[in-house]
Amino acid sequence: MTLLSVKDLTVRFRTEDGPVLAVDEASFDVAEREVVALVGESGCGKSVTALALTGLLPRNASVTGAIELDGSQPSRQARGRDIAYIFQEPMTSLNPVLTVGRQIGEVLRKHQGLRGAASRRRVIELLELVGIPLPSRRFGEYPHQLSGGMRQRVMIAMAVACKPKLLVADEPTTALDVTVQAGILDVLRNLRDEIGTAVLLITHDLGVVADVADRVVVMYAGRVIEQAGVVALFARPTHPYTRGLLDAVPNPARHADGGLREIPGRVPVIRTPSEMCTFSDRCWYADEVCRSTKPLLAPGPAGHLVRCWHPLEADHAGA
């Protein structure tokens, strides 16, 4: 059952230095109870995509395309109730002068009209749900009194307070220690099981993707360039960029021969829609076709959706 459907989402920014095309006709779906990972390097447009879902982008952004949650366009009311967010920096994402209890309570009050003792009970329940010890004490504490991992759990508690259908997690573990990361991912997994929330997980960390995701959408320079189930993607990456990403993950077995492999060059800033493959200037296999015509997102040799004129055939291992 498709929960979220994104079709041809395009986001443009008007900036002092000129227009920026952050997202270029991105399309993907998230099914109920599914964990979809939106993957890519910094600047590829994944965060912008996430914020566009409920109109959280700044005023200089113009958004076009079709976004549907459960068949209809998400309204302002959907924020916090049907679609909830957790952000990367729990320290700055929580209001430093309000208590934890108060901040979680706000969501309950807004969407469910809960106040007073009932609200407090529910907040403590939520804190327990996300695995925070001594929840009744934490209720009255301030963000700076909690560790990074706990703050992130608080953010999650705030997000799932109203049992949203979709949880958008924007780099939830990037700012945390690896050991704490595992805990947070566990929480997300449990939530998916207990509450049935779908998760759109935004990350550049492939380890996290492998751990938790069901499906993966890979973005580059604002475009979706590959989509597949997680196992399939890792086993047979079809787009050269995806291949490059996977190769870049340090692996003693594979890299014993020499150095780490990185993809040369940098993610470009796209200003106007271009009629070519935006990865072509960094691609090992690029040719004239790539540089002159924009590839379409279509099923590739491994069955994944891929946007490439020369999708990789089976096994280019060690190339």
Binding site: N95, P96, V97, K110
Partner: protein
């Protein structure tokens, strides 16, 4: 929190001591015989001798200083050679006037400043913001006393609505007090209002761009809730700091305002003292001002620590 309070109090104490030393030395820095300075220009030898005795002017400086501080601490700031009255008493009569004026001015400034600041921050790029900005800019560019002169010209002379001078205590006659203090308070508070407005706007703009505001919006909170419940709350801390910092300017402003509107307050006392070469009075005034300023700043800092939970309750992993 306890450590912070202690540290601040210690710092204030040191500053206070330094300030008293400066004041003490200031008088001694005047050319001529200190005794004559303190006793007044035309004093007879007997008075001079008495002054020497009281202040211990033949003793070494540190001893003089200690004596000075001791006396000041007990409220003895010397006697004015001009009026013959004790300095402390004269100051005591002048203070309530200035305090009423200042309180009125601060209230006006906060109400207008915060109101205008919030409007300017929220209604960005719309006429209201430009209007508020323009007013704030004017507030900063117009000298207090000239503003006062213009106000007097229009509201007291051209169209006699309000009295141009004189003071009535609020405890005696609230209505008359209001009439007499309205113009001076507006004049005195205008500069402060402009600064508060700018800082509120700036702090609010920062707050509105902050991550936690994005979180609040993502939670589905409405505009007003975000502005008042989140952004403004955090900005208030800044405002309090500003008011604390501007106290000095307020005192300076009071000096001018009182001169202009002929209010028998602390400020007018100061100016009169300079022109009549009333050095004990000058010394007393300066000392009282510095002490008050240091103490009020300490109070503001401690208040600040109460309001900002980050300081009040120590952090875990900061």
């Amino acid at each position: 929190m306890g450590r912070y309070v202690l540290r601040r109090m210690l710092e204030s104490a040191v500053t206070l001591i330094l300030a008293t030393i400066v004041v003490f030395l200031g008088i001694r820095a005047l050319p001529g015989d200190p005794a004559r300075t303190l006793a007044g220009e035309e004093s007879d030898p007997a008075t001079l001798a008495a002054i020497r005795q009281t202040y211990g002017l033949d003793q070494p400086l540190p001893v003089q200083y200690v004596r000075y501080v001791q006396k000041a601490a007990t409220g003895d700031l010397g006697r004015s050679p001009r009026t013959g009255l004790p300095v402390a008493e004269t100051i005591g009569h002048a203070l309530p006037v200035t305090l009423q004026l200042a309180a009125f001015a601060i209230t006006i400034a906060i109400l207008i400043g915060i109101g205008a600041g919030v409007i300017a921050a929220v209604r960005r790029r719309r006429p209201a913001e430009w209007g508020a900005n323009a007013v704030a800019l004017l507030g900063l560019s117009v000298p207090n006393f000239w503003f006062g002169q213009m106000v007097i010209l229009s509201l007291a002379i051209a169209y006699p609505l309000l009295p141009a001078s004189g003071f009535v205590s609020i405890f005696e006659n609230p209505v008359e007090s209001f009439r007499h203090l309205l113009m001076p308070a507006v004049v005195l508070g205008s500069g402060l209002a402009a600064i508060i407005m700018r800082q509120t706007r700036s702090a609010m703009l920062d707050a509105l761009l902050a991550d936690y505001v994005r979180t609040a919006r993502a939670k589905g909170l409405g505009g007003a809730q975000v502005v008042f419940g989140h952004a403004l709350r955090n900005s208030l801390i800044v405002v309090i700091t500003i008011v604390g910092l501007q106290l000095g300017a307020l005192i300076s402003g009071a000096v001018v305002t009182e001169q202009l509107f002929v209010l028998p307050g602390f400020g007018k006392l100061t100016i009169d003292a300079v022109f009549t070469r009333d050095y004990p009075m000058i010394q007393g005034v300066v000392l009282v001002t510095a002490t008050a300023y240091i103490l009020i700043n300490l109070a503001v800092d401690l208040l600040y620590s109460v309001i900002d939970p980050r300081i009040r309750v120590g952090g875990a992993a900061l």
